[in-house]
């Protein structure tokens, strides 16, 4: 039997408290509480659909246990932008036609956002390095790369 314990974290800027067990992954906890923009794909740290930002760094929500987020800052796609006010990366992905089925897109957005928050104007190699953990089976990556490079080269990021 798993012991149920409380964890506290900052989720998209708001303090939150959740009950969890040691075996629950962060993505399962988030989805259980309605944050379903974070997708579940491979569940083995390969596809990147479950990517969230933990203390400013992109991580796989399927490999991380929820308790590892205790006391930390978590950002999900719900905190990245909205339909009326999309994040610059979301806007660029749409503008470049870099979204087809959209399943990988939340993870792509958060990987790019984590990079651009830390390094607003990264070079092409750095972008490739930081996006290497997100798979897309629709677009062939080129349009995603172009979209992120455009944001990196623009003044949309501070």
């Amino acid at each position: 039997m798993s012991t149920v314990k409380q964890i506290s974290l900052t989720l998209n800027g708001e303090p939150k408290t959740f009950e969890t067990t040691a075996d629950e992954t962060l993505v399962d906890l988030l989805r259980r509480h309605g944050y379903r923009g974070t997708k579940t794909g491979c569940y083995e740290g390969a596809c990147g659909a479950c990517t969230v930002i933990l203390d400013g760094r992109a991580v796989y929500g399927c490999l991380l246990r929820a308790f590892q987020a205790h006391g930390r800052d978590v950002q999900t796609i719900e905190g990245a932008g909205s339909f009326d006010d999309p994040h610059p990366v979301q806007r660029a992905l749409v503008d470049e036609g870099a979204v087809q089925c959209g399943f990988c897109t939340p993870g792509m957005v958060l990987s790019a956002k984590a990079l651009l928050d830390e390094t607003p104007h990264p070079g092409s190699d750095t972008i490739k390095e930081h996006m290497d953990g997100n798979l897309c089976r629709c677009t062939g990556y080129e349009k995603i790369r172009v979209a992120v490079e455009k944001v990196a080269a623009s003044t949309a990021m501070p």
Binding site: T3, G45, A46, G48, R57, L63, R65, S111, E129, D132
Partner: protein, 277 residues
């Protein structure tokens, strides 16, 4: 179910006390990535080691000290003269895993595909283990039996590596099916070159062997040799004779052996080139 409970100690003393109390029922964890590859007969209690102040990289007297819970992304981004682990970190799985996986975790739970043990063996790293007192072991001693050395109540606190300075060079190579896959061959070399000759060399390899290991015979064959590709390939061929190569993911054993010899020779060649600059 693998884990039945978790505790999050606030400092080293509390972590050690928890590990002692729990004994074999403890699962000390930092990034937690290895949990994905492990199976337990009985559920364990996770002991989160990420809040103990054991993360960071410092330099003193020509050596770098790396806190055990330093994530791989910090190794990837660290910039300093003589710092070489960024080359290993950059090719380590994916950014999301580099952001969470720690150096300590990579040497405490070693798998056949592990990359960092290979680099640390070549660099002649040392590992600081905290129990009732602090013990410093060579990477070779530690990696031979990491989990046996870590009795309940002990934990790795730091890894120490030399700065690779003038006259010395470091080379690292690996082969994977795709960039984020496990290594099929992984090798590292640290050499000192004088004039046109290799003065000394430490070479290690893994993935196509049962576990990462130092290849002392290759180092011995290289010592005093001309620092050119022909001599390097010859030393690798003769210095790896008799090793039990293991092909993975569809590779035959002889193919794995040949691939590994090329990767090892490439790592040595890169190290020699760096030593000459």
């Amino acid at each position: 179910m693998k884990l039945c409970d978790f505790v999050i100690p606030a400092d080293i003393d509390e972590a050690r006390a928890r590990l002692r109390e729990l004994g074999d029922a403890a699962f000390p964890t930092a990034g937690g990535v290895s949990l994905h590859f492990l199976r337990f007969a009985e559920p364990k209690t996770a002991v989160d080691l990420t809040r103990l102040g054991l993360s960071g990289i410092s330099r003193d007297n020509g050596r770098f000290t790396i806190g055990a819970t330093t994530p791989v992304c910090d190794l990837q981004k660290h910039v300093a003269e003589g710092w070489v682990l960024d080359r290993v970190a950059r090719r380590f799985v994916t950014q999301q895993i580099r952001n969470i996986s720690t150096l300590g975790g990579n040497i405490c739970r070693v798998f056949w595909w592990s990359d960092f043990p290979v680099a640390l063996l070549a660099l002649d790293a040392s590992v600081a283990v905290r129990g009732e007192s602090e013990t410093v072991l060579s990477a070779e001693e530690f990696l031979a039996r990491p989990l046996k050395l870590l009795k309940p109540g002990t934990l790795v606190v730091a890894i120490d590596i030399p700065a690779v300075e003038s006259g010395a060079g470091f080379g690292y190579g690996k082969e994977t099916r795709v960039g984020s896959s496990f290594s099929l061959a992984t090798a590292a070399a640290c050499v000192v070159v004088e004039g046109n000759r290799i003065k000394q060399a430490r070479v290690a390899a893994g993935a196509s062997l049962s576990m990462p290991q130092l290849l002392p015979a290759v180092g011995e064959k290289l010592a005093g040799e001309t620092a050119d590709r022909e001599a390097i390939e010859k030393a690798v061929a003769t210095g790896t004779e008799g090793l039990a190569w293991k092909g993975r993911e569809g590779m035959s054993d002889p193919y794995a052996a040949e691939l590994s010899r090329i990767i090892i020779a490439d790592a040595i060649t890169d190290a020699v080139a760096e030593a000459r600059t």
